[in-house]
């Protein structure tokens, strides 16, 4: 193992240049993730993973290849780059080739927003998990399952045109699910980039309270309802929109946003942006996988689709500039932000005539990515609202609709927003409560 990631990048790029590539990028990430998982109020496993991974991009004569190796000793890297180069030369030329920028950039790690305290969190994870479990228990969650995770990553880049730099990130998250009688369940999250903003007790309280309220849940009648989506539920759908806004997905025909640039795809109250860097964000870097500076990109502004997310290749193909969203192959969002509204949660509930509140969901699957038709399965706290009042817990329901119709029928958005990242939301998302009209709810026919 080479001690310094900078030396690893230098070795990869210099080897590639000696072989005669036109473009090369070496990106090394070193990560440490510590996790405590629990179920039935008891520890299930502790985890600690430490990894160094080298990602390489090579381009020559309109041919492109990418690679990742977790085998970063000196001789292995040399052999790996040689193998890559041989493979590269065997490929057909592609029509879409964008050279790396000639101008070299140099990046420094962000000082703001990086909490060193998260690096040191270890045995305290069990205590934080215990705090969440106890809070859930006090509020009605008889037994809880979940995971608390502290992670830090350092990334370092070097390109053949001399761009170099380093950045780092840290986050701490808790996902807790509590159960009461009759398998009633509730869900809570706490996601923070700083230890001081991490609140396991509040997450446990929410999980416990929702579990308690769901004890007498019943199945609803199928039909169209107003649906108030919690930040957890809304961010699951917003994360998908983020993926669909990738120019790669659009080009492949696996996005409902094909041919929609400049067109209305959501209600005027809905705006969505991607941020490479943002205070409080759980992810992101100052540079992307091609060494381009990351930035803020408005995706949907006041209901109108304003930008796709680009890397150098997709940008060149469509006559745009890179938005600094390059991933291994496809552009991807870093941190999503839904613009805040002006309603309070209470005002939103009071405005509902016949509606459903959803606090968590899973298993969102599409009939057709091109049309955006999907269904998703609510779980944990779900409540019937009649004339502005919560009257009943609901179970056994499914949302069956389309992304464009849902976000075009958004009526109210809350002032308050929360960072969400968990099993069902890959891209950290700062998300409000979202109230939508006329959402189709189904249930098993029998």
């Amino acid at each position: 193992m080479i001690g310094l990631v900078g030396a690893l990048n230098e070795l990869a790029v210099s080897t590639a240049k000696r072989l005669g590539v036109d473009d090369a990028v070496a990106l090394t990430s070193q990560g440490n993730e510590r996790m405590v998982r629990f179920a039935n109020n008891s520890l299930t496993v502790t985890k600690n993973t430490k990894e160094t991974e080298l990602y390489v991009y090579l381009g020559k004569d309109r041919r492109r290849i990418v690679a990742a190796t977790s085998n970063p000793d000196e001789s292995s890297v040399r052999t790996f780059i040689k193998k890559l180069f041989d493979s590269l030369q065997s490929l057909p030329k592609g029509p879409d080739y964008a050279s790396l920028p000639e101008k070299a950039r140099h990046y420094k790690p962000r000082e703001e927003g990086y909490d060193r305290k998260i690096e040191a969190v270890g045995t305290e994870l069990s205590e934080l998990a215990g705090e969440a479990i106890e809070s859930a228990r006090k509020n009605g969650g008889e037994r809880s399952a979940g995971a608390v995770v502290a992670s830090v990553t350092t990334s370092s880049i070097l390109t053949s045109s001399g761009t170099s730099g380093r950045d780092r990130g840290a986050s701490i998250t808790l996902n807790i699910r509590s159960f009461s009688q009759n398998d009633a369940s509730g869900h809570g999250l706490s996601c923070a980039s700083k230890l001081s903003g991490f609140d396991p007790a509040e997450a446990g309280k929410r999980a416990g309270e929702n579990a308690k309220k769901m004890v007498d849940a019943k199945e609803p009648e199928a039909g169209d309802y107003e649906v108030l989506m919690s930040p957890t539920v809304a961010s699951n759908l917003v994360d998908l929109i983020g993926g669909f806004s990738s120019a790669f997905s659009v080009d492949a025909g696996i996005s409902y946003l094909v041919d929609k640039l400049g067109k209305k795809v959501a209600s005027e109250s809905f705006s969505l942006s991607d941020h490479g860097r943002m205070n409080g964000a759980l992810d992101g870097r100052v540079f992307d996988d091609e060494g381009i500076p990351t930035r803020t990109t408005p995706i949907i502004r006041e209901g109108v689709l304003e930008n796709y997310l680009h890397n150098l290749t997709t940008a060149k193909k469509s006559g745009k500039v890179s938005t600094g969203n390059a991933g291994t192959i496809s552009p991807h969002p870093w941190n999503l932000e839904v613009g805040k509204g002006d309603s309070s949660y209470d005002e939103m509930v009071k405005s509902m005539k016949r509606g459903v509140i959803l606090t968590s969901n899973w298993y969102t699957r599409f009939k057709n990515y091109r049309t955006g038709e999907f269904s998703t399965v609510p779980r944990d706290g779900a409540y019937l609202v009649e004339d502005g009042r919560i009257t009943q817990g609901l179970k056994g329901l499914r949302v069956s609709d389309s992304l464009e119709r849902i976000f075009s029928s958004t009526r109210l958005i809350s002032k308050n927003r929360e960072w969400i990242e968990w099993w069902e939301v890959d891209t950290p998302t700062l998300c409000p409560w979202v109230l939508v009209d006329g959402v189709k709810i189904t249930r098993a026919y029998e």
């Binding site: 405590v36 179920a39 490929l91 899973w362 499914r398």
Partner: protein, 479 residues
């Protein structure tokens, strides 16, 4: 890096863990390498090479389970990590209500490999790219009969190698090559689109491509999309019969039988992520289906995507009869759930990479074959729908309320297949589905799938499959 060179490191890790106070320790040197080609609308995307190699160590210390992993494969790093794992597990004991134990499964000493006729190493990115271009050539030919403006195709040749040892005496070395194809086809006609995701894969060498008849298979799927767009009409309503193809039988077996019979879910371990189960620890013997409901999981099927004759706890993988004649017969077990439930592990514990803990996974889950032909099943149907393929699907986290939306689906009238119907929806509970099984065909087919579970997520290769399955008296909807 060669597996052979690192065997000593696995033994060293176990020794260090035991010295640090672990009552049990295991170490897995786990490597995966792969070549992948991607073709988007006929144009090559960057080829991909991946190699992942590292060590995963798992310990039991004072009844607490700890797992750690690193790709720093020197003794100093492994010692530091292993001792840290034992320390972290011990310190987390404050959260432990009941000490964890492993069952007394017989430790396996074995070297095994999946059958491989044409060496997987021949599957370089040039070879894979040629395969994709051949498929794409068919997709853009006039014979397909429909425009496919969206054609995203990937092909991968991969190799997974492991060396596993534990302090109970297991010592297992394995080699599994795999070939995997994935594609999303988007057909367009008169402003309407239809989309099909195709996933095919097996363990084996490059001969898998021929065995799957991959080129013709993808071409057939494209032609069907055109037919669906041109001809599909509204499906019948009300209570009718439904015939599930092997593809539908397989996904139903996986989602509503395999998953709820994973013992870790039943015991609550996955509660905050993949969920729990409608079944409880005392549900063995529960009647859940008709006498025709027979579902199994078998890690020993030759060439299968989930081929795993020995699991990642060093236990022999046995065929699991999940539902037999309508009764819940057996759960999928690892060594800790087996100890908790006072049974013996049936070898269902697998991990996808060095940095993932082994957890309970399905391997190849399927409806057992029956005695009839598809034609004989259809003859039983006065009015019904034959689901040949599906698109959108999902299920709740207790595995009781599931939905499958048909893509290629046909009206069945008077015992005969008629025209295509558009997006029929089977939204049904698990007991109703398996309680409605009336008969099964003899034909067995399997589909490749990647099953997601765990935290961090582990997507693991499996097969889903079965025969044609006749369900009687089903309420059908449409999208």
């Amino acid at each position: 890096m060669k597996l052979e060179e690192l065997k000593d490191l696995a033994d060293y890790a176990i020794g260090q863990a035991r010295t640090a106070g672990a009552s049990y320790a295991e170490a897995r040197i786990h490597g995966a390498s792969g070549n992948e080609s991607l073709l988007k609308n006929g144009e090559p995307e960057p080829a991909v090479l991946v190699e992942s190699f590292g060590i995963g160590v798992r310990v039991l210390a004072k009844g607490a389970l700890g797992f750690s992993a690193t790709n720093s494969l020197d003794r100093r790093s492994v010692k530091q990590l292993t001792i840290g794992t034992v320390k972290m597990a011990k310190s987390a004991g404050v959260l432990l209500k009941k000490p964890l134990a492993f069952d007394a499964s017989k430790p396996v000493k074995k070297k095994w490999r999946a059958e491989e006729k044409q060496k997987i190493e021949g599957g370089d990115v040039k070879w894979l790219g040629s395969l994709l271009r051949e498929i794409d050539g068919r997709l853009t030919s006039e014979e397909v009969g429909v425009k496919l403006p969206g054609r995203f195709l990937t092909a991968e040749a991969s190799l997974e190698e492991k060396y596993y040892v534990n302090s109970d005496g297991a010592r297992v070395e394995s080699r599994v090559p795999r070939v995997h194809f994935f594609g999303i086809l988007t057909a367009l006609e008169n402003g309407e689109t239809a989309q099909r995701m195709i996933q095919q894969g097996e363990s084996g060498g490059l001969e898998v491509v021929e065995r799957l008849d991959l080129v013709k298979r993808v071409e057939r799927e494209a032609k069907t999309l055109g037919e669906v767009l041109r001809k599909a009409t509204k499906p019948p309503e009300g209570t009718i019969d439904v015939v599930l193809s092997p593809e539908l039988s397989g996904i139903a077996a996986h989602e509503s039988v395999g998953h709820p019979q994973e013992a870790d879910r039943i015991l609550g371990r996955e509660g905050a992520q993949a969920g729990e189960s409608y079944l409880k620890r005392d549900s063995l013997g529960l009647k859940i289906g008709s006498t025709e409901a027979n579902v199994s999981d078998d890690p020993n099927l030759p060439n299968s995507n989930g081929f795993s004759p020995v699991d990642d706890e060093g236990v022999e993988g046995k065929k699991r009869r999940l539902i037999q004649d309508g009764y819940i017969r057996e759960f999928l077990q690892n060594r800790s759930t087996a100890a908790e439930l006072e049974v013996t592990s049936n070898g269902a514990s697998r991990s996808v990479a060095f940095n993932r803990e082994p957890i309970i996974r399905m391997s190849n889950t399927f409806v057992e074959p029956g005695e009839y032909t598809l034609e004989e099943l259809l003859k039983e149907v006065k009015l019904g729908v034959y689901f040949a393929s599906f698109t959108e699907w999902n299920i709740d986290d207790k595995r009781l309320n599931q939905r499958y939306v048909g893509l290629e689906a046909y009206l069945v009238e008077g015992g005969e297949l008629k025209g295509l119907v558009k997006a029929p929806v089977l939204e049904i509970t698990t007991p109703k589905l398996w309680g409605s099984v009336k008969a099964r065909s003899r034909k067995m087919e399997f589909e490749a799938a990647t099953c997601g579970k765990g935290d961090p997520m582990q997507g693991i290769p499996v097969w889903t499959g079965g025969p044609d399955t006749l369900l009687s008296g089903i309420k059908l909807g449409s999208r």
